[in-house]
Every structure is written in structure tokens, then in C-alpha cells.
Amino acid sequence: MKSLLTSALSLLLLAPLSAQNTENAPAAQEAPSTPAPQSPQELDKLVQALSPDLVKATIAVMLDGGSGSGVIVSPDGLVITAAHVTSEAGKEMTVLLSDGRELPATSLGVDHETDGALLQINAPGPFPFRPYMKTADYRIGDWVIATGHPGGPVLGRPSPVRLGRISEAGTKSGFSDAITTTAMVISGDSGGPLYNLKGEVIGINSNINVSWNVNRHVPLPSIVARWEALLKGESFGRAQQNGPDPNSIFDEPYAEMRERFEEALEKHATQAAAAELLARPRLLDPHHMQALLNEWEPDPEAEKAPQYGFTLEANTPRIVSIIPGSPAALAGLSEGDLITSVNEEIIIRTIPLTLKLRSGEELTLSTDSGKSVTLKPAQVIARKHFPQPVAGLVNMMVSDAPETGTNAISNEEFLSSLQGLRESLTRSVLPLKNQKGETIVSATVIHEIGQLLTKASEIKDSEGLVASFDGEDYPVEVMAIDEQFDIALIRISAPGLLPAPGLLPVSWEPREPKVGQLLLTPTPRGFLSGVITQPSRSAPKKGYELNHRSEQSNTYLGVSFSPEAVDPVIEKVEIGSPADKVGLLEGDQILEFEKSKVENLEALSAQIAKRSPGEKVTLLVKRNDEEIILEPILDLRPRTLSGTFDQDASRRDGALSSLSANGGELSQRRAGFPHALYHDQAINPRLTGAPLLDLKGKVVGINIARALRHRSLAISTERIDRIVAQLRQAARERN
């Protein structure tokens, strides 16, 4: 409690200072209008130039339950982040700056209605920062760049940049409104910035749909609208519940309605329907209950739907019954009438008729008995909809909002100037097909005698593989394979036969592409475009890409909690840790730490951090409704060495993979490459083996994997060069 009070105090002190400073921030100055690049070259130049500064202002926000991102918007360390990252005002946390500094920070106000929030770094500046947009100035189709720390901060990895376009603005998406973009973000990016091509923060990464193309960001103007209040630490709305409450054993989503229904039953006990229900055990679904409630206690506020007043046969539009007093009854329609036309359009089946009835418009119906009536529907209470319960994710929430407008943005037109380039590539990039004629992977021509490179693991199980070129199928022979890089050198003519005429080897660009550089992958129809997201490095196997860990506390108990958890219920006990030694178990809830009540995860972590290794502490633990006391001796946190397996990293990779896999196909082998280029094109596994090109059409690498939602990998030209030399050598030796 005491610590909460202090943070509230420090917050009040900070607020006016920040407010004053933002007045002078460059955001307040008149900025030139957002550039709209007319050509891929122009876009490439802009993004490359901007990227370093955009990354610099991006930070990671580290909490005990997980981590999010944020963006510094003033030189004295005011940060905009997402409400679901900080979750409440006055909380102490640690931020990781792009230069590797770890600094304490305090959360200011949170707005759960928009998912915007502010955070103050508690250290003297100046900090690298970016200006932010104050009034809405963006359009559908605008190019945007998202940064953040996908999967949490990774040791030695700057924030990856991701390029996309605005596909929709002003959608209702669980939060009041949002900017939807194609810049692919994922868990951990929450709270990170969305920039326009002026380098202004225009949005904050908030939530995603499983579809890779639906990434939602809080528009900055909606945060600015409550700026002063947020600076003062005010909160708006309530935190979103993620999925069903894990503590509710009996999940009765409509309990309240059921109660209301039971009351109504009693009140209307004289009615036959109610009496029948009262006399038997009943468990009605919400629709059924609603229908009866509508009848007994109609809610004048309820949503209305049009009703003409008759029932039909499902196959032929013959009237089965008429609702007394309805428009149909008043117009003289009667049971047995066969409806033959609607608005003079002949009707034979019921379904097309009901589609018309759904419109709720005034309709003229004719019947086989010669009646022709014009009906205006009555308004009756509509069938209410009761959503299925859906689970969500913390950090980056997967929202259930509709996936609209996703295909509205096509880069086809923008890239049309490159069509000539695409055509010349038809002789350089070939699809490899299996016996059924399905393309399984692509291959890049490196020598006109019929030598190509492709992704080894994609072809290893396929027999009778052929390369399609110029309407002919050529059998594929594997010459040699580099297991580490997953590259296969293949030949597409059987020995003794002529090679395919007209193959054109690609030309190479040995220099490594820069972060933010616009690159292309040829597809059967055109190009995919995207940027280099981060400096090239190894792409470690699952569990080997280490998270950046806060070095602040060396005291170690050895338990971890689910990122979804609020209560300190243990999800995992590290083998051999102090917790393990005293028999703490997964599922145990820690009620007290040294006789003081543990309110939540943060409180517990703070308590542990205050102790020293070697100290014995007393825990009161709840296990299966039983309370037990355990006395672990705290230990020194074991150092994780680079290149070693890490459980947390493994769990993170698993979670990111599965989230990514829902939106589209990932490569089977997608990690464990000694060195790779990282880019953000949504290539599918059939485009691996195809070249990654710069805007001049030169090859900077060979696509090797669709790794994650926000990550595709390519092997750089420099490495390919070495690999090819080795593979040719190996092939010669084998012969």
C-alpha cells in the first residue's frame, strides 16, 4: 500500500513538468504535409532514411507478467504506450531504451476505452524522441511504419521496423476506434508506435486479428484528446477481460438473464407456457429465454426487426400461418396462399423470397389466388445475438472485430512500374512441382546450364519433382545440400540431355541491404514488397534466441507465472530452483510472502527483489483449497549464457509460432540458420527458394523461410556465394 501512495505522489509532481515540456516539443510546430511517395524508389529512400530514428525512440516496457513496447515523445522521457501494457496508473516499471539503458518508469493515466496510456521515465534526459500527430491526418492507402519489440525485447536485437499501409480507419474493434494497417505486429509490440512517413507517431500498436493483414493501432488524436487527464494519471474505462474467468468453475455466461427469466416465470405463472416450464427442470438457452421474455416483458429499448406477419413452407413460398393483427393479416393474405411474385419479380422458391423480406422494405406480393397486396412490415423485437465466449491474448490481443477492408489495399498499382522487371524474371525463377502438379517451392537459376538453388527441406520428401519452365516440365535432380542453411543445389536436366534453353541466371548484389530498405520477392503474378526489419544475424532455433532480461534483481525463487494471470498462481517451477527444492508446485497460489499479503504478481516480484540470495523466506501457499507454509531459501539468479537453451524463450517462440500459424502458412523449417536477413514480406512457403531483390532487380538473398507473422528470412548473397562454392565442390566430389 505504501509504495502505491508514493508512486501516486511522484506522479503528481511529474505531471505539470511533462505538460510544460510537450508544449515546446516539435510536435506542436507546423509540420509539412505527409509525403506520399509516387514510386517504389521514393518510398525506399524515405523509409531507409527514417528507420534509424524511429528505432531509437522505441522502447520496451518490462513488467513482471510480460512486456510491451512504447515510444518516447518528449526529450524528458514522456512515453506513449498502450493501456493494456501498463494496465493502471501509478505503477512502477522498467523500460529498456534502444541504447541498452534500463531505467525506472512510472505509469501515468490509462485509457482502456481507446487503449492509449502514458508513462514517464524517471531519469534525467534528454532522450531520443519522436513528434506525434495531434489532429487526425491520415488516409487509407498511406504508407506507415510500425516498430516495437515483438516477443519481448531480445538480447542484442534492435526493434524491428515493419512497413505497411493503412487499410482502414475508424473501425470499431473492441476499442472505440482504430487504424488498421498491413504492418505486421505481434505480441510484445503492444504499445509500440505506428509512424507516418514524416516520422510522426500516428498510432499505438494495440491489437491484431489472426489474419496477418489486420493490425490495429490506437489513433494518436484519440490519446491527445485526453492528454491532460492522462498526464494527471486519470483512468478511463475498465481493463478488458481476457477470455473466460479461469476461476469460474461453472461458466454460466447468461446467469443474470437466467435470474431475470426465473423471476418472469414466477410472475407469469398463470400463462400456459410459463406453467409448463415451472413444472419441470429447465435449462433454456439464451435465445429461448429471450423469446419468452420478449413476449412477457417486452423491452421498449430492444433492437427491432421488420416482420410482415406470416410463416411459410421452407421449399415453396406457401403461407402456412398468419400472425393475427400483422400487416399480412390486415392486407388480407391467408393461409394456403402461394406467393408467386415480389415487386413483380417471379418467385418460385422460399429462400429468394425471404432474402427480399429481410430488407424490411415495402413490398408488393402477388399470390396464386390472384391477390396482390402491398405490405409495410411491422417492427418487432429482433432476435438478440449472444456471442460465443472467446479467449483472447495478453500483450497483443487478438480481437474479434471483423476483417473488413483487408484486401482494399493492393500494392499492385504502386509496383506497376516494375512489371518489366517481373517479366525478365520468368526465366530466372521457376516453380518446382510435385507429381500432382502442385507447386511446392520456388527455385532461383544460378547458371544457364540448369543449376538452381532452392529450399532443401521443402523438396526432401518429394519424388518425381519437376521444374516448370516455358510450358515444359524438367525433372529435378538434387546435386548437393547445405543442411545448415537449408539450401539445395539442383540441376533441372537429366544427365546427357540438353539443359532447358533460355534459362537466365540472376544477377547478384553482394552488399548487404540496410534496415528499412525496400525489397521485392517475385510471385507468379507480380511482386511482394517489404523492408529489411533488423540487422542481419543468426536465426536461432526455438528456445535459443534469448530474451533481454532485467538485471535489476538477482534474487531468485524460480517460479514463473502465466502472462494471463492476475493472481500469483504458479505456472512453472524451475527445476532445481529454491521453489522446487521446497516443493512448490505448478498451480499453487502464493497468498503471503513473509506474513504480508500478496495482492498480485507485481507485488510479489517486488518483494522478492528486496531480499538477498541466501535468505530464508516464509510463504503461505494455497493448494487445492488447502493452505500450507513453505520456507524456501532464496538463491542467486542463474546466468543464462548466450547460445544455450532457455525455457522462457522456448515458450515465447512456441506462442509466437502458433499465433502466427493461424493467420497463414509458415515454413516447416523456419529457424536454426547460422545467418539470415530479416524482412517483413508475407511470403508463403512456396515462395521460399525465390530470390529477394532490390529495386534494381539484383538479388540480395534467397528467401529461406516464412518464420513468423512479422518475420521472413533470407540467406544473404554473401553467404550464398560461399554455400554455392561448397555445394559445387561437394557435387564434383560425389561424381
Partner: protein, 570 residues
Amino acid sequence: MNTRLLQLPRSLSLSLSLSLILALTPASLLGQLNWSEREEKAIAQSTLAFAQKLSQQIVIIGRTGLTTTRVATVIDQEGHLLAPFIASIDGQDAPYLLYRPDGSRVQLTTVAEKPKRFLALLKLEEKDESLIPTRISKVVDHSVMIPTCAPIASLGETPSISVDHLEFAPPEKATAIRLDRSLYSPGSPVFDLSGSLIAVTLASRRTNTPALFITRVLEEFAELDALLPELSESALPKLPKAPKIEPNEAEKIRESSLNEARERYLQSTQQNPLPCVHIFNEGAPSTHSVIGTIVRKDGMILTKASDLGPDLRVRFRSKNYRGILLASDEASDLALVGIDATDLPVVRWSDELPAPGSTLAAPILLQESTEDMLTKPSARSGTFSHILKAHTPTVHATSQVTSLGLVTEQTEDGITIAAIQKDSPAYESGLSPGDLIEKIDGQKITQRSELTRILNSHRVGDELSVVTTSPNGPQEYSVTLISPRLIPPATGIIVPRVSMIPSVRRAPFPDVMVHSIPLNSWDCGSPLFDSQGRALGLNIAAASPNRSLALRPATLRKVLEKLLRKTRAF
């Protein structure tokens, strides 16, 4: 001992409901699945054989005062049961109960409890000749069988068999295995494909469920060890070296059963694709998704009514149609949805009743990217358990119209109070657990049926006098009747930390087939296939983890006829 190696990757688990249902590379599937297919055939045979012995080796237990039901394993001739630990109500020593298939219940003696391991050792007071001891072993295969029952079982229910997989063989000195899925309550027994008990699940969690080897359980359970002295570790066969399993192999095994069923169905009906559609709501696709089964070629589709949204879209063969809710039937929760289309493939039902333990499969929805639902065989398989008759009461009395707010137990002396609902009038009145009820409303009662009869002759709000016998002599209380706490019969549970989203409406239904295909609410409305490719029914509810319900063709035909006769009011 390096148990760290046992951590299976999360990617195959069912965590967060949807996120981990992996999309598979389609087409090439059948050609490549030799190992999986073999494994799948072995599994199908094993579950069939296991189902035959199931009711003799596995029993359904609960605990006085609680509605929870679990499965326990018979481990010796003397009637000892290895059971999951069930925390008793208010920490009292309430006895465990055995629910017999005939609907009766028997009290069990608690020999030992190990809450830390979620286990209890129980004993039948009288020897029961119908039960046979389970073999115990430490042989680990890639696939295991796990019997489960409903969280609140129906009277006469039999457990159903779920099949799970290990991604790789555990190391030599491992003490536990990690199951692929997470849909089990702690303390569930795990069997190998020969039907021997090998492990017990340790926790229910969002990631892969850990299961402790039975040998390790023996080490910790001194009482158990004493019972079964011959089962020392050395007597057990060494852990065999298992062949390497490719990533996603478990998923392939699970899907290959639908592949086979699907191929056979398509062959026998000469149709393509499956007669299924994805029905969703224009406004919120992921919260109103269901599958529909086409029943008339001119656009008539049967599906689950209660999960339909207000503005229907129907996706078939990559095309979206506007859907119309034509009619619905409350009793079966079936809806007839129409689309303006012709020449659709129509489902052909089969009235065949599979043997318990038979492998079944059903298509599932990948949450919302359902473009390829019908071409990509995204599927889950499970086994058939039994037919659940309509109106079968659960072990918890659900037959009351009013309630005293008490959980009662039938004992030799009469009706005793096992537990009292908090904040109910009974709770306020001063009644206490353990009291023997002598009279209610002036009438002497000795049977639960008498109690039910009295309660059903009153209305909520009526005041009843309750006379109890306690050590201090007879006491009279006045209790106001309340509405019974409505626990969805036989179902209705989200097990904490298990990612499964049950249907909102899980009961009641007409006669249904109970099977172990793990469905989520949005997978309902789909046809249920057997391995011969016969469409045996339509999935109507995702009831609880590893337990789903399907309507049978007789019901489907009857309801369809009714729905076709008369639509809702337009």
C-alpha cells in the same frame, strides 16, 4: 536427472483455444503419412479393445457434497482404486463416492490422499466381482489413451477414451511425460496402447499436460507400494527407444483419421467436396462461427441454432452467400439456414451405431480463416463412447423444481445434509451439514424421491418446515424454497487453465451420441464421421474437454421434416 528435456514445445498444444490448431499442408498428406497411418490404425484397434474392458477397470467417482465426477482406476482384486484427489467441501472428511452404471452410489473408504500429486487411494468396502485390476507398466509408446468422464456425469454414464500423443520419447531417466494436449483434469490415468496404466496427469495447464510415471507415483505412495510390492522399478521393462517423430506428426495422426473417413465418404457418395459450410456472422465472425451440414441440394443447411448470429453469411467453396435463418427447433437446438444456391452436395446419413471405442472424426474450423475448410482436412478425431438418453439426470439431482439449498445424501439412516448452499435461506436458518432430515412439511421422509416429490409440489418462495435429528434431539427450522441452482446437466464446465470453449447451450438435448472429439463451440453443426466414411450424426454441442455430443440421423430427419413444413414468422 534432467527433466528439462521433457518440456515439449508449445506449438502443438491447444492453448488459447484457437491459436494452435495448426494448418496442414493439404494434398500431399495421404501420400506421405505412412507412419502416421500405421499409428492411427494401431490406435483405432487399441481404443476398440480398451473400450471393451473399460467399465471393468475404470469407474466414475465423486465426493459427498460435490457435483464433480472423475474417473478412477481399479488396481487390485481387493477393490483398491487409484483416484484423482478431489478437495472436499469446507475441508471436511467427506467420503468419496462410486457411481455405478445402474445409477446407484456407494461410499468409498479413503486409504490415503496425496493432494500435492492430485491423487487419492480409495477402497471399496465390499469386493466387487465385476471389477478387474488394471495392468501397470512403464512402456511408453507415442500414443496414449486417457479415459475421461463428464465433469458432472450423468447416471449410468461410461467414460470415453481420448487419444493423445507424445512428441518425442522421454529420456531414459525421465519421471514424467508430456502429453500433447491440455484437456485433462489432474489425476487422470494415462494408459499405453496395450491398455496398461503408465502414468497419471499431474496438473491441468494451458501448455502440454505433464503426467507422472506410475513408478514415480508408487515411490511417493507408500500405501500403494505396500499394496503392490511386486511393482518395483526393476521389475518393469526398460523404456524402449522410440523412433524419432517428425514435427506435427501428432497433428497428422489426428487429422489422418478424417482424411480416411473423408475419402471414403466422398467415394461412397460420389460427391466433392464435403457437404459442409462455414456459417458466420457479418458483424463478428469469430464469435458466431459454426459449421453447417447441407441437407438439401437447393440450399438447405442444418446447424446449431443457439450460436447463430443476427446477420448470417454462409461460405461454401470460397464463395460467400447471404444466409437466412428459416426455422429453428428448441428441443434439439437445430436450425434450418437457407442460401440461394442449387446443386449443392447433400449429406447422406447412416443409422449405423458404432461400437464403443470406435474412431470418429469431424471437420473443425480454424477460427476464422476458413477459406480452405473443406479442401484442407482440418480435423480432430476421437472415439465413440455411448448414447446419452434425453432427460438422463446427472449425479447431481437436477430433477427439482424448487430447492432447499441443500445437497443431500441418501444414507442407511435416511436423508442427511451433506452441504448447504452459501447465502441460501437454509444457510441462514441454522441447518448444519451432517444433520439427518426427519420430516419436511410435516411428512416423514426416508428417501430422496420423497424429498423431490415434496419439493416439486411447492413453488419458489413457499416456506417449509424442516425437522432434523441431531445429537441434541429433534430441531425444527423454517426454510424458504429457492430456485434450484441450475447446473447444466452433465456438462458445463470450463476447467481452469484448460483452453476449451464449450458451447453456451450444452444441454438438454434429445438422445445424443457422446464422443471424445475435442471440439470448441464454433465446431458444432458439422457431420460426425466414422472411419468408414459414414456420416453418423451432427455435432450439436462442445460439452466439456474431450466430450462432445452429436444428434443421430433419426432425430435429424424428424426435426428437418418439421422445420421444412413451417418457417419462423417473416
